[in-house]
Subunit: 153 residues, 2 copies
């Protein structure tokens, strides 16, 4: 749990480093990259779900959980820079502009999401499918918490 919290904290720090690390990433590319991250996590979530509902392949679940945790922990906050509040040309975004006025809350939600994904990766490594089911559900809740508040349907 300590490790999860420190990773979460790093996520929040990363969020505050936006201007330093990604000044050179164009707003439309920030939208593209963040959507790519969520999309790739979504594929891996669906693989874990399929494993929990069918034949459980611990290696596949571990690989999927590692992908999710490391994407979540890669400092995606840097992809919410100025100018990314709305779609830019072909780069559509469903983000609600309110997100950009709610950074402390977003940081908290992001921290909880990061912690839940780090925990899922840790639990997946044990190969305990029942425990993975619980950890997977916890990740889903943290996804939903942010979608409900800050994503258009």
């Amino acid at each position: 749990m300590k490790k999860s919290l420190s990773r979460a904290a790093f996520g929040i720090v990363a969020l505050s480093l936006v201007s330093v690390a990604s000044a050179q990433v164009k707003p439309e590319d920030q939208i593209k990259y963040r959507k790519a991250g969520y999309s790739f996590m979504s594929w891996n979530m669906s693989k874990i779900k399929a494993n929990l509902e069918g034949t459980y392949d611990a290696a596949q679940v571990t690989a999927a959980a590692n992908a999710i945790a490391s994407i979540a922990g890669s400092g995606m906050g840097a992809l919410y820079g100025a100018g990314t509040e709305k779609s830019i040309g072909d780069q559509k975004t469903r983000v609600k502009p309110e997100l950009f006025q709610s950074m402390p809350e977003v940081g908290k939600l992001a921290g909880e999401f990061n912690a839940a994904t780090a925990n899922l990766a840790k639990v997946a490594a044990t190969g305990d499918a029942a425990a993975v089911k619980v950890a997977f559900g916890d990740v889903g809740k943290t996804c939903k918490a942010c979608h409900d508040k800050f994503r258009e349907d």
Copy 2:
């Protein structure tokens, strides 16, 4: 190195599990997810490059390298199923159809890519920027090897 090779081998195994794990992923979604994976890796490669050329932040480089390695190791071979040889509607792909007739060679290139990304993650964890520069270059070579053969410009 042993660990890298075993990860690479898992990547190849994953490639052969296409039909089992992803039968339910529509071809257009396979294209979407694989493009998302490459796109997100590309963002993380550019962050590592910026660190090597500017101020080196070991935590950011480690997080980026972990994201790249775990995406590469997540079984992306499953996203090259039947029907994904060419663009489908809005889901454009630059893959050359030859890739689908060259699976043994693709498996070898994918294995080398996976091994190089696993090595980059391992080296990044040491915080040795000079060693990261070498490992980063090695990853770039394995990206290029596949792009040169199997991706349209």
